[in-house]
């Protein structure tokens, strides 16, 4: 089962994007499930929510390492047993650390007969509020950019060219390795490309990455 994280700070357009991504991937014939924290105001087919939706306020805790990891992994194991989805799209809160979530996802292997793979970690950065975000919650935004495989500059439909450029610059400074792309989760621009990434690319597992890191340390690089 592949787990795909769509991260980003409060209001960055995650749920809007997740719904469109799931829609597109279902059209491509994928069995999908979602773990999002709020579907209330988003206009999606009720049947779809019933069969695939799960509330996930549980991953809003910040401290994903211990208590909450259990609940999240339980959710994934249950989804696996009930629907056997190929891909689960997860919308973490803006205080969750993507590595922590990967680890929690792998932890679900102890609870269901499956192997977890990770899609590239996608972080959405809201270009329309970039100045406010940098002033108010700089460190949280930096953490999510630092841990992303791909950053989407989101809401390009309304953001000014200057704000888009500023957002790109910020991403480059924080995470030069991340791929940068554009999205408008509202209009659907960039959604197909996000789906290609989710379907085709893989991001490293937490446990393997840790073993590698520890070995590096032991042998001093």
């Amino acid at each position: 089962m592949k787990v795909s994280q769509i991260a980003g700070f409060l209001g960055s357009g995650k749920t809007t994007a997740v719904m469109k991504i799931v829609d597109e991937l279902m059209k491509r014939g994928r069995r999908m499930a979602i773990v999002v924290n709020d579907v209330g105001e988003i206009n999606v087919d009720a049947k779809f929510i019933e069969s695939h939706g799960l509330k996930a306020k549980e991953i809003a805790g910040g401290c994903i390492c211990c208590q909450i990891a259990g609940t999240f992994s339980e959710t994934l194991a249950k989804l696996h047993d009930a629907y056997d989805p190929e891909i689960v799209i997860v919308e973490p809160s803006g205080v969750a650390i993507p590595w922590g979530l990967k680890r929690a996802a792998e932890y679900s292997e102890a609870k269901a007969d499956m192997v977890i793979e990770h899609a590239p970690v996608i972080t959405l950065v809201d270009a329309t509020r970039i100045d406010l975000l940098v002033k108010a919650v700089k460190r949280l935004v930096e953490t999510q950019i630092r841990e992303a495989d791909v950053c989407f500059v989101n809401k390009v439909d309304t953001a000014s060219a200057a704000d888009i450029a500023k957002t790109e610059q910020l991403i480059k400074e924080i995470n030069p390795k991340a791929e940068i792309s554009h999205m408008s989760s509202e209009s659907g621009h960039g959604i197909k490309y996000a789906c290609d990434l989710i379907e085709k690319k893989i991001s490293p597992r937490y446990d393997e990455a840790v073993e590698e890191e520890l070995l590096k340390k032991q042998y001093k690089g």
């Binding site: 306020k57 809003a60 211990c66 208590q67 609870k111 919650v137 953490t143």
Partner: protein
Amino acid sequence: MAEMTHIERVMAALTNAPADRLTTYPIACGVNRKLVNGGITYREWCHDPKLFAQAFIEGQKAFDYDFAIGLMDLSVMAGDLGAGVRMDEQNTPFVDRHIVNSPEDYEKFEVPDIKKGRSAVLLEGTKLYADKLKTEVITAGFLEGPLLALSQSAGAERMFMDMFTNPSAVHKALETMTAYDVEMVKGFGKTGVAGLCWDYLWANYSCLGDDQYEEFEGCKKYAVGLNELTTKEGMAVAIHSCADLPHLDTQIFKFKPAIYSMAYYPLIPGSPSATEVIEKGYADNCLIGGQIDPQLFIRGSVEKITQVTKDLCQEVKTALCKKGLQGKYCIASGCEVPPDVHTKMENIKAVVDTTKQYGKIDW
């Protein structure tokens, strides 16, 4: 050196006196409920003071820890403040309905009656296990700090944003959280525990810088005052932080806790390892606890966790010896042992037994 009692060993560690071995405490709390009456649910455990206490008593019998620290979960205060808490049979309860929807809501918080709700369960339960265990091990209560209690009630992202856009409203709420904590500290003071362990979760450079942490928690009005009150009520100050980038200078050098329990994230650049923490002097006047990956208790084999514990003992002993320190490190999990039905109890035993064997202080 002859084998010490648990209390002698911890006292030696705290005062940097010679001891037989390193102390150990896998932070096994909710998971001990599996030992009560053949296994009870999380929901039962966190609503009944007798069952809550019994889990720590059974855990002690089964594993022979050096401490007993009574963590329930991180939504006790938020729940009693009125937030919606989802209470599954077997999962850790968590907040699923925040109660701040506008800046005005920060001013509406009121200190709840601590003789009711889960605050009361926590205090009564703590007293019950302290009564039973305090002559055998070092006992401590566990309490959420003001910023954590607020983030659980308001939603963390919203709170962080409002710290910038509506700081006075956030301070207003933090004053209420602190008043609630004051009541709780006085309550814990009457339970007979030797210490109180604070969860000041947001002292984390991934979230807050020094200035912000100082303004919203690290100052006299909040944490410093609460730490002083803890001491005044006859309890030692302990702090647990599972942050990836903890504010060690503030939380150890400034707060001066007797014990500091921490996690380690090898993949996060700058996350401090046991060796670094000791080298940089944080263990000089504080007993540091950590940093076994909690997930190993669920996914690792006994062999694997034994090896990890052995390696950690060796790492810590080398660093302590270099620094001229005695047993100022407690072999613990970096965060709570997953309170999960799938957690392997034999792995908890392996950590304790391996520390007994390989944690001997022989330098």
